[in-house]
Point group: C2
Chain length 356, copies 2
């Protein structure tokens, strides 16, 4: 009795065949109530905890698990509210499947453990864009695993991509600033590459950029302000937003630049970055939006920020949910198509006409 009992043991104990016992558990198939009850009683008596999920998934061909590839360290992904909302949406979208989420580590390659190369998943959602998406897609395609990408950049026809209007939305934010009269506008961008190079954005950095979202949003800003100086943040966080903003607003000694030498508005590529920009401005003694207008992106509620941020409200949760629903459709054998969501400009109290 040391080993865990198997379905066969239960069946024997109940005096039925294994197949009948199986039917009694799965509920599908014709089994008389009396028999079912006897099987259940035998199971209880033997301490049988239900069919082994491993064996079941081998036979059924499905594991009931959906993988999520975060494309970066689990840790940093957890710090990004947008990713969290997206995860939340995915969980919601796949709810009808009753599947659990398996967090797959970034596809570094030589990590020895469970990766997309070798995980018992029925489908996978790739979040975020990076050069690795391509590689990941290849593996998944070879394994024949239905895949959905979120902001995955160009994927094949077989992989639906859920995205938003990054460029267009940012352009609308920039046009809002232009409408207010701003002429000198700076940009604080998300990371450009996997190395998270931070600092002023020059042609060289732009050239080797590998993060689709960053590029698209920068293009949107450049559509209105072609000459806008940009500074890349190392991560999408308040602190890195603050550091990036200081490069636009202060001199090397940390003193605020004279009003005519600094931008009157900053477009931040995420709300966390925008919050950091506001902190930097206030730290330098500037008022927001009096002396500096700030536009964010995402539409998250930054915990602790006491401003109603002007931002581009993106439906992160909806994106995740759409990805989850696409997964459900793919698993049902139905086609799923790419989908682009639209962000809406939310005008808060962090933008106003420039002082000069």
């Amino acid at each position: 009795m040391t080993a865990r009992p198997t379905l066969a043991d239960v069946a024997a104990h109940a005096g039925v065949s294994a197949s009948t016992a199986s039917l009694a558990f799965s509920g599908s198939g014709p089994v008389s109530d009396a028999t079912k009850e006897r099987v259940l009683a035998a199971a209880a008596e033997l301490g049988y905890a239900g069919p082994d999920p491993r064996a079941r998934s081998l036979r059924r061909g499905r594991s009931g698990i959906v993988g999520v590839v975060l494309e970066e360290r689990v840790r940093s992904a957890f710090l990004d509210p947008v990713k969290i909302r997206t995860l939340d949406g995915i969980a919601d979208g796949i709810a009808p499947l009753g599947a659990a989420l398996l967090l797959l580590p970034f596809t570094g390659g030589e990590s020895e453990g469970a990766t997309i190369e070798d995980a018992p998943v029925d489908a996978v959602v790739l979040i975020g864009c990076s050069p690795r998406v391509e590689h990941s897609l290849e593996i998944l395609r070879r394994r024949g695993i239905p895949t959905v990408a979120i902001e995955g950049g160009p994927t094949g026809d077989d992989v639906p991509d859920i995205s938003i209007d990054n460029r267009d939305a940012t352009r609308r934010g920039a046009e809002h600033l232009r409408g207010l009269g701003h002429r000198d506008v700076g940009v604080v961008t998300l990371p450009f590459d996997a190395e998270r190079t931070s600092g002023p954005v020059d042609a060289a950095l732009e050239a080797r950029a590998s993060t689709q979202v960053t590029i698209e949003r920068l293009q949107g800003a450049r559509d209105v302000y072609p000459e806008a100086p940009a500074v890349a943040a190392a991560t999408s966080s308040i602190e890195d937003g603050r550091l990036a903003a200081l490069l636009l607003l202060a001199d090397a000694s940390g003193r605020a630049l004279p009003a005519e030498a600094r931008p009157t508005a900053i477009i931040a590529q995420s709300d966390l970055l925008a919050a950091g920009v506001i902190h930097a401005a206030e730290e330098l003694g500037m008022t927001v939006p009096g002396e500096l207008s700030v536009v964010g992106f995402d539409g998250i509620r930054v915990d602790g920020l006491r401003h109603d941020l002007t931002t581009l409200d993106q439906p992160s949760t909806d994106k995740g949910r759409a990805a989850g629903e696409a997964v459900v459709r793919l698993l049902a054998g139905e086609p799923a198509t790419s989908l682009a969501f639209t962000s809406t400009l939310h005008i808060g109290d962090t933008t106003a006409p420039p002082a000069r």
Copy 2:
């Protein structure tokens, strides 16, 4: 050729037996380089993506997946930096296993999908304490799945519990305040129960409290200030901390109470709550620590907070790592024991002698 090739197909294509092909893939066992290469070549030619993880895990008896039960909605867990750090630590601790993390939904009961009742996991880590832990433990014990709890309260001998000195640590924080001369101290607590009842803490609420951590930390404060008024926050967030603090510092109309009618210090049961307390104080025109001292708990760096919070630095990541290591030991058949970590009082710039 529409179906995915199996190991047997590859073996046939390479002109070897299935067993040899298996050895060629797993690397273990004596296989000549020539044969191995031929098998790999055949695999490449057939588009074979490696052994099916389902079959492998059935045979091997291990799935390479460790489940994590968050005991609350995935969404809210993601918003708690301590949980995230803990997850991070777990990921680190189980790294030698090369296992992936499976997020299991709170054990609500009637959720139909993958739960701890039915998930292909080799081990499980239960995070957080709630009345449900008991139920979860029962299921896992029956399934014979090695389990480790974090702040799980009283578990059996077979389930190691990783915890910290909640009561003692809070007491030390309170003693620090007493040493500074504070006599009127308020407490902002974590939620008391699954319903997240918020507002002033009375005997009734305390009686039906089900969250171990909240109670222990409150006891620690009461050890020094038996009469301290307490207000429960709905969640561990800056905003709810702010709301709770307002109940201690302001009257119904939102105006600050006169200095002699309000506490000179507030003990918050988490750093997020503490940040909210500071926001509330500043909003009411009080200075920190001049007119209000604030002590937090956790020792996270609150993104955007411009104070060096006096807090009880708890090793969240270490806790997670210890849990992960306990999992590794359990899976290796070695015994793993409960472990209590110690928090250290970090004295920042948010505590000072009271003004009066």
